[in-house]
C-alpha cells in the first residue's frame, strides 16, 4: 500500500477543514488577498468541492494600494466560471483618502482591520477562511485552526477552545464569528512545493524582473504608479522580486534573480531572513505586534 507524502497529508487535512466549515457554518466566505497563500487556499477549495462550484464567495478587502499585477490576477480569477468575488472598500477610508504615506499605521487599521470587520458585518458572514500559517509568526503558532471571535471581532488568546484530533467545534452565538485557517500546518516551503506540483498561477511579482524601485527606511520599495511621492528621488530599475505581497508602498522587495518556482525555492534554502521581515506592518509595536493586532480584529 502506498504511503502518503507530507504534501498529500497537508492537502487532505486542509480539504477536511474546508468541508467541515461549509457543512456547519451558516454563511462562510473566503478571504482572498491575491497572494501565494490565497492562491493555494483557493486551489484547495476547488479540490474540496469538485465537481460542485465553490459553495461560498471570495472576499477581497481592498485598500486601493495593491500592486497593479495583483488587481490583474484578481480580476482574472473573478472571471472564472463558478467564482463569485466581493470587493469591499471601507467607505470612510475612501472618503478620507487614507494612504500609507500620510497616515502610517492608521492605513492598515482603517483599510484592512476596519474594512474587514465592516465587510463581515455587512454581509453577515459567520465563518471566514484565511490563508495564515502557523510558521509565519509566534502568536500565529498558538492560534487554533478554528479561531473564535466575539461580537467585536476580538481574539482572546486565553479563551481559545481546545482543538482535539480533527474535531472542530463550529458552534457560536449570534453575532459571533469564526476565522478558519486551513493552511495552519503548512510552511512557506510547503506552499512553494505545492505551487510547483499543482502548477498554480501566482502574481508575477513573486518572480524576479527589472522593476522601478526606491529605498525607504532600508526597504526596497517598488514605484508601481504615480501616486508614489518620490520627493525628488528617481526610481531606479533593479532586478527584484517579492516574498510577500500587500500594499505596494509597504511591501519590501528583495534583490534576486529567481525567475522560476525552482529558483525561488533554491533561493529560499540559501536565504537567511524570514518572509515577514519585508513587512513594515509588523514593526509597529515590537515583539508582540501581531498578537496585539489580532486581538483588535486583524485577520
Amino acid at each position: 500500500m502506498r504511503q502518503l507524502t507530507h504534501l498529500e497529508r497537508l492537502e487532505a487535512e486542509s480539504i477536511h477543514i474546508l468541508r467541515e466549515t461549509v457543512a456547519e457554518a451558516a454563511k462562510p466566505v473566503m478571504l482572498y488577498s491575491i497572494g501565494k497563500d490565497s492562491a493555494v487556499m483557493l486551489h484547495l477549495a476547488k479540490k474540496a468541492f469538485f465537481p460542485a462550484p465553490l459553495p461560498f464567495p471570495l472576499l477581497h478587502v481592498d485598500t486601493t494600494w495593491k500592486f497593479r499585477d495583483m488587481y490583474a490576477l484578481r480580476d482574472k480569477v473573478a472571471a472564472e466560471p463558478g467564482i463569485q468575488l466581493i470587493v469591499y472598500k471601507n467607505p470612510e477610508a475612501l472618503s478620507q483618502g487614507i494612504n500609507p504615506f500620510d497616515h502610517g499605521p492608521l492605513h492598515t487599521d482603517m483599510w484592512k482591520t476596519e474594512g474587514l470587520k465592516q465587510a463581515l458585518d455587512k454581509y453577515g458572514f459567520d465563518a471566514a477562511f484565511g490563508g495564515a500559517r502557523r510558521d509565519e509568526e509566534k502568536s500565529r503558532a498558538k492560534e487554533r485552526i478554528f479561531s473564535f471571535r466575539d461580537r467585536n471581532h476580538r481574539w482572546d488568546p486565553k479563551r481559545q477552545r481546545p482543538e482535539l484530533w480533527s474535531l472542530y467545534n463550529v458552534r457560536k452565538s449570534r453575532g459571533e464569528s469564526i476565522r478558519v485557517f486551513p493552511l495552519s500546518n503548512w510552511t512557506e516551503l510547503d506552499i512553494w512545493q505545492y505551487i510547483l506540483r499543482e502548477k498554480i498561477e501566482i502574481v508575477p511579482l513573486y518572480f524576479a524582473a527589472e522593476r522601478p524601485c526606491v529605498e525607504r527606511d532600508g526597504l526596497i520599495i517598488m514605484v508601481d504608479d504615480d501616486r508614489f511621492p518620490l520627493n525628488g528621488d528617481t526610481a531606479v530599475m533593479r532586478r527584484v522580486r517579492f516574498r510577500t505581497l500587500g500594499c505596494y508602498p509597504l511591501s519590501g522587495a528583495i534583490e534576486s534573480d529567481a525567475a522560476t518556482v525552482e529558483e525561488i525555492v533554491a533561493e529560499m534554502l540559501a536565504t537567511s531572513t524570514s518572509e515577514r521581515q519585508g513587512r513594515a506592518i509588523d514593526r509597529d509595536a515590537g515583539a508582540a505586534s501581531m498578537e496585539k493586532k489580532k486581538q483588535e480584529g486583524y485577520f
Binding site: P162, W165, S166, Q193, E263, T271
Partner: protein, 632 residues
Amino acid sequence: MNRAASDISAWLVEQEHKELLRFITCGSVDDGKSTLIGRLLYETKQIFDDQLAALETDSKRHGTQGEHIDFALLVDGLSAEREQGITIDVAYRFFSSNRRKFIVADTPGHEQYTRNMVTGASTADLAVLLVDARKGVLTQTRRHSYLAKLVGIRHFVVAVTKMDLVGYDEQVFEAIRSDFEAFAHSIGIEDWVAMPVSGRVGDNVIARSEATPWYNGPSLLEHLDTVPLDVTSDAAKPFRMPVQWVNRPNQDFRGFSGQIASGAIGPGAEIRVLPSGRVTRIARVVVRDGDLDEAVAGQSVTLTFADEIDCSRGDVIVAASDPPEAADQFEATLVWMDEQELLPGRGYWLKLGTQTVTATVQHPKYEVNVNTLEQLAAPTLSLNSIGVAQLATDREIVFEPYSVEGSSPNRALGGFILIDKLTNATVACGMLHFALRRALNIHRQHLDVSRETHAEIKGQKPAVLWFTGLSGAGKSTIANLVEQKLVARGRHTFLLDGDNVRHGLNRDLGFTEADRIENIRRVGEVARLMTDAGLIVLTAFISPFRAERHMVRRMVPEGEFYEIFIDTPLAEAEKRDAKGLYAKARAGELKNFTGIDSPYEAPEAPEIRIDTTKLTAEQAADLIVEELLSRR
C-alpha cells in the same frame, strides 16, 4: 535553467516523497524543553537571521541563559508567556529532515495545563518526554507519560536533558533509564527509548555525540526519522469514512465527501452505510485531478455509489463485510476542560467524527489522580480532571473503541468532544471504551395498549404544560387555575409541583446545581410517562436553566410540550415574597437561590408568555386554556 535550479529540481523531486510525523514534547521550561526544540529548529535551519537577531535582543531582556542565546524565548509565543517564562498554550512548530517533515506540538508542563497537553497529544504519533538529568523521573514525567498513553500515543522518547551539567555521567543516565523502565512497564508503555541529550550544547540531538561514547543508540533526529507512522497502521484496518458533506451540484452527480479514517477503497468495493445498514458498491472515487483506482487512510475524497441509497452528513461509509457497531450507551474516559464542572444528567452536544448528538453523562465511576494514578471516588469532574463515566446519547451513533491493542488508536470514530449547549464552549474530550449492552438486551416492553389508545379513550391529546419562572412569580397559582378550568371541561389532568415531588420521588435530592438538574430530569420522565397514559400534565418548577427545559422538551413527542413563561420581574416577585424566601436568601441563609445568587435563564421562544404585571391570575389561566385548546 542554471545549475542551482536544476539541482533544486532533483532536490524537489526527493522532497515529494517526504513523510509527515507529528509529535509532542512534554516537560517544563526548566527541563530544557523549549531549548531542545529551539535547538532542533536551529540545527535544521528553520530559524532565520532576523528571528535570531530578535532572539538575541529578547535573550538579554528576559533570558535565563546569561550570555547564551535563550532558545526558549523563540518558542514561547504569547507576551504573557515570554514575560513569565512559562508555556501556557500548545504551540505548533515545523521543521524537516531529508526524510520527513515534522509538526511539533510544544505543550505546557504544569498540572493546570493538562487540557492543553491532551490537546497537543491527540494528533501525535510520538511523545518526547523531557527529564532533567539532575532531577530524574519526576511526578510530572509520570503524569505526562500517562496522559500521552491515555490519548493513544504508542511511541515514546525519554530525552534525558542537560547531560552537559552532570558531566555526561553514564551512571546518572542509567539510573534514570531503569527508573523509567519500571514505570513504563507498570502502565503498559512498550515502545520507548531513552537518550542522553543536551539542548544547549546539541549533544545527540541531530548527530550522535562524542561526549557520550557509552551511548550506542540513535540521535533524536535519527529516531524521529525512522519510527513507524500511525497513518500506515490506519491504512491496514477495515475501511471507514465519516460523511462530511453531500456533493450534489446537479441531477447527474451525487457524491459523498469525507476524509478516509481507516482502510482503503476503490471502485467496485462493497460498502455499507451506517447507521441505516444499506449495502451498495462504490462506483467512483472522485478527486479533481481524475478518478482514483484506490484511496487510502488520510486522503480526502468524494465517493459515488452504484445504487441510489440514502446517505448524509453524520453517516459513516464502511467495509460491508466488517462494519463497526452502533450504540447509544457507552463507557468512556473523559478529560474535563472547562471551568464549569461536569453536571451529570445535563444534556451536552457530543461530536464524534461528523455525528453530533445530545449526550448525558452519569456520575463518574471514578476519577484518576494523574500524579499517583490512583482511582478515586468523585461526584463530578472539574477542570483538568480525568475520569471514567457512562454516557448516553439521544440516538445511536456509529463508533469504534478508541484504543486498539497493538495498533494505532481509532481517533476518528473513538474520540469525541462535549460542547456546552449554552456557552458553546468545548468542555471535555473523551475516548470511548465500549458500548453498554443495556440498550440492546433490554428491549422496550411492547405495549398492546398504545399511547394513542390511552389518549383516545380520554378523548384528548396529551400534553405537558411546563410552567417556568422565578420563585413567587405565580406559577403554582396559575397552574392550579388552569387545571381546574381543564377539568371543568372534562379533560383528564395531573399537576406535578415542587412540593408533591420533593417530598417523595425526589426526597434524596438537595439544591446543588447537579441535584436541581436531576430533579428536573425525573420530573420530565414522570411527565412523559403520564402523557403516555394520555394525560395533560401540568408542572410548576422554577426550572431556571434553558438546557434542562430543552432536555424535557426532547423527551416528549413533538408538539406536546408547552413552555409557559410566567414572566414576573425579580423586584415584583421579591416584593410579594409569599414564603419569605427572598428575605432569607438576601440574608445569606439560603444558598443558590434563583434570581439572587443563581441565574434564571428566561425562555427565548416559549409557546406562551404571561406578563403578570398586566394580567390577573384568572385572566392568565383563561388565556392558557384558550391557547391550548385552539392549537389542537
